[in-house]
């Protein structure tokens, strides 16, 4: 593999890993505080899947980079500006509706992405995706069912989830902004066509929101972008402070 491709693949694997690490972290904050015991279990389980997927992607990123960095080095010893996760997944949990809306918007994307990545020409990446897509199928079913329950439940739940979708919508535009990393890897058959994922995403999201009696938010609004280049919202730095504190305080220690 030439240097450009190697670098692009490293970046791409960071994106895949960081999305899941950061989302898993957010979900894990619910642990012990869920609205009902069954949801405590479900959110923790999804968090666990996300961290497991992140571990696999980051491990592969380290080996592609070939500088001896482990998944833990990448998770614990990078600064916020070096994280490449979507802004969507770093948004705070808010209420349960906010968490579900964030999860659903990501799950639809992640499911279709991983479904395609199973056929990547990069075998190890394809292998991780094939395993992860099975988990994501369940995640998507879970978040979609809750979108329906909350959207078409009570007036209060309807309002809460509608406003969650309205608030989060500005973070959905950048999901599908392809840059040269995407383009180069797509040419090599390693990554996927983000355009085709976007059309499936739009269709699935509007279909679910309509069924849930919710309005698809207005596309004519400020849309954030830049996280794949390390530009984030203010929330990520605080999250990483917490996530990394112990590991960074004792860099020599084995745990």
């Amino acid at each position: 593999m030439d240097d450009d491709s190697r670098h692009a693949l490293f970046e791409y694997l960071l994106r895949l890993g960081d999305d899941r690490l950061v989302l898993g972290h957010r979900l894990s904050e619910w642990c012990g505080h869920g609205p009902i015991l069954e949801e405590d279990i479900a959110l923790t389980n999804i968090a666990l899947d996300c961290i497991g997927q992140a571990n696999n992607f980051l491990q592969l990123a380290g080996s592609v980079e070939n500088k001896g960095r482990t998944a833990d080095d990448l998770a614990y010893f990078r600064e916020a500006i070096e994280f490449k996760n979507l802004m969507l997944v770093e948004q705070p949990n808010g209420d349960f509706a906010y968490t579900i809306a964030r999860q659903f918007l990501f799950d639809v994307f992640s499911f279709h992405l991983l479904e395609e990545l199973q056929h990547s020409s990069h075998q190890e990446l394809a292998g991780i995706a094939a395993k992860a897509v099975k988990e994501d199928r369940y995640h998507l079913r879970h978040s979609r069912e809750w979108v329906l329950r909350l959207g078409d439940g009570t007036d209060e739940s309807h309002q809460r989830i509608q406003s969650a979708f309205n608030d989060l919508w500005m973070y959905t535009g950048e999901i599908f902004q392809a840059d040269k990393v995407d383009d180069l890897l797509f040419e090599k058959g390693i990554s996927v066509d983000l355009k085709s994922i976007e059309s499936k995403w739009s269709e699935n999201v509007s279909e679910a929101l309509t069924e849930a009696t919710l309005a698809v938010p207005d596309a004519e609004q400020y849309m954030a972008s830049g996280s794949r280049q390390g530009i984030h919202t203010e929330y990520l730095g605080h999250m990483l402070t917490e996530m990394q504190i112990l590991t960074r305080s004792f860099p020599e220690a084995k745990w």
Binding site: S28, G32, P35, I51, D72, E156, T247, F250, W255
Partner: protein, 309 residues
């Protein structure tokens, strides 16, 4: 008169080692005692998620983070099937949860102590889950079928938790000077509360005689406590961690490790609600429950609409 012959038949079945199943006749006291014990056990699993959940976001490696998430998730699962076991005795889950949140229901006092460093996570797995296993191994043989089976399953998972915790302790105990200090400090803080997990001394245990007659319990609090001490002392010496009891001494006559006096005043104070974290644990549970109300209402309303459609 009829009840008395039923009682005799019931006790004969227990004597013969048969399990009592939900639809079988049972004395009201047996039912009440089991509801109390099983729901307390369930509450303990749920409240126990809080002190350990406290470290998930700061776990020092991805592997440790996954291990801890899985452990806390297991505890939520234990809570769920224990509530189901309690429901086989004719109570509703929401009723017993309300007794925890707004009434006088108890949960294991151990969870009213704070988790202050990462070493606490290892120590809890080793000592607290270790003590729980000793207790639950006995309960797995209890006379009530659903509770016995729940404990068989719980023990399998708790054994894994204990191994995981012990491995954290062992890793830190041979780590940097700071890690060694953290792990010894954690053991110093958790050792005595772990010993109180088996309940008050036999002479002050009001429910024990009846529970043993009906084989809900098969060993006394003091017997279980001694068994736990005997198991734990060699484990501590293997990893080179000191147990904070100057009176701990092997007794060659009994084959037991004798240990110092427990602080029962503290134990009873914590049970009454006066421990370091009682208020914050219950506040966290109440907030979760109350913030979840609109979610549960929405799920109910949605299900009703679907049924009507």
């Amino acid at each position: 008169m009829e009840d008395e012959s039923k009682l005799r038949a019931f006790e004969a079945r227990i004597e013969a080692g048969e399990k009592i199943e939900p639809k079988d006749w049972m004395p009201e006291r047996y039912r009440k005692q089991l509801i109390r014990m099983i729901s307390q056990h369930a509450h303990s699993e749920i409240v126990g998620m809080l002190p350990e959940g406290n470290w998930i976001t700061r776990a020092p490696s991805l592997r440790r983070k996954m291990g801890l998430l899985a452990k806390v998730q297991d505890e939520a699962g234990h809570g769920l099937y224990l509530y189901c076991s309690a429901e086989t005795l004719g109570v509703d889950r929401s009723e017993v949860v309300d007794q925890l949140l707004y009434g006088t229901a108890k949960y294991s006092s151990i969870f009213n102590y704070p988790t202050l460093t990462w070493a606490d996570i290892g120590t809890i797995g080793w000592l607290v889950d270790g003590a729980a296993i000793v207790n639950q191994t006995m309960l797995a043989k209890c006379s009530y079928g659903p509770y016995s089976r729940a404990n068989i399953r719980i023990c399998k998972e708790e054994n894994f938790h204990k191994k995981q915790g012990y491995e954290i302790v062992a890793t830190m105990a041979k780590g940097t000077p700071e890690q060694k200090r953290m792990v010894q400090d954690a053991v110093n803080r958790w050792w005595w509360p772990s010993l109180t997990m088996f309940g008050p001394p036999d002479k002050d245990s009001p429910n024990s005689a009846e529970l043993m007659k009906w084989q809900v319990k098969l060993q006394s609090n003091d017997e279980l406590r001694q068994r736990f001490v005997n198991l734990t002392v060699p484990q501590a010496s293997v990893v080179g961690v000191a147990l904070p009891d100057p009176d701990l001494k092997y007794n060659s006559k009994t084959g037991n490790w004798d240990f110092g006096a427990l602080n029962w005043d503290e134990f009873f104070a914590v049970i009454k609600g006066n421990g370091p974290c009682n208020r914050q644990r219950m506040r966290a549970r109440r907030i979760a429950h109350e913030n979840g109300k609109w979610v549960r209402d929405a799920a109910g309303a949605y299900a009703a609409k679907k049924r009507a459609a």
